[in-house]
């Protein structure tokens, strides 16, 4: 069964550094998402992406965050200057259409030192 894949599984970065989290959504999916889960807290929506542009973003998704779909397969989340509070598990999700469930990857655990 097709899967959403995320790399790396764990990223350790110094505060202030840039980090890029990578995702390969399921190939025929059209809608793409990033969520994050701080340890012990709820999964939180960050951003949705459709038709090569951001369709919705949360208050968390400030100017330090950006997303890109540089080619037909990858979907990336960049954090320009990481803060300690960015430490979390980041999940990528995708789906075929508006009436379909979202399928999640296994996540990237981001640790900011």
């Amino acid at each position: 069964e097709p899967e959403v894949t995320q790399t790396p599984s764990h990223q350790v970065t110094q505060m202030g550094q840039e980090v890029i989290l990578r995702c390969v959504p399921i190939s025929n999916h059209l809608y793409f998402y990033w969520y994050r889960q701080i340890l012990g807290q709820k999964v939180e929506f960050l951003v949705s992406f459709y038709n090569n542009e951001i369709s919705e973003k949360s208050e968390i998704f400030d100017d330090q965050f950006s997303v890109e779909r540089p080619d037909g397969s990858n979907f990336t989340l960049k954090i320009r200057s990481t803060k300690l509070e960015d430490s979390a598990m980041y999940f990528c999700a995708s789906r075929t259409g508006m009436r379909q469930p979202q399928h999640f990857g296994d996540g990237t655990r981001l640790s900011i030192l």
Partner: protein, 117 residues
């Protein structure tokens, strides 16, 4: 309470018993989805129930939705040790004509289910 609140927060049962988890939400929804998360892993989609549906089954899973009470329940019958995980409900808001709701999911805190062999 917040959108998508589950109860109980933790549930411990013996193998073979049924497990029921509840979810309440506040705003109008297009659909409600249930996910499972094994420790340290990703979210696995279980069932999507649309706002015009009242009940849905998938294998040992049964989901109900009561939009008048803004609540849903997930029943796992004949539980197994492998069902041990966290279970989350997630709501997708009602699509607004000309609006920008592209599927943002709002998750609850989750129910931690432990099934003892």
């Amino acid at each position: 309470s917040q959108q998508g609140e589950e109860d109980p927060q933790a549930l411990s049962i013996q193998e073979g018993e049924n497990a029921t988890m509840n979810c309440s939400y506040k705003t109008s929804i297009n659909n409600l989805q249930w996910y499972r998360q094994n420790s340290g892993r990703g979210l696995v989609h279980l069932i999507l129930i649309r706002s015009n549906e009242r009940e849905k089954h998938s294998g040992r899973l049964r989901v109900t939705l009561d939009t008048s009470k803004k609540s849903s329940s997930l029943l796992i019958t004949a539980s197994r040790a492998a069902d041990t995980a966290s279970y989350f409900c997630a709501t997708e808001p009602l699509w607004r004509a000309g609006g920008t709701s592209y599927g943002k999911l709002t998750f609850g805190q989750g129910t931690i289910l432990t099934v003892h062999p």
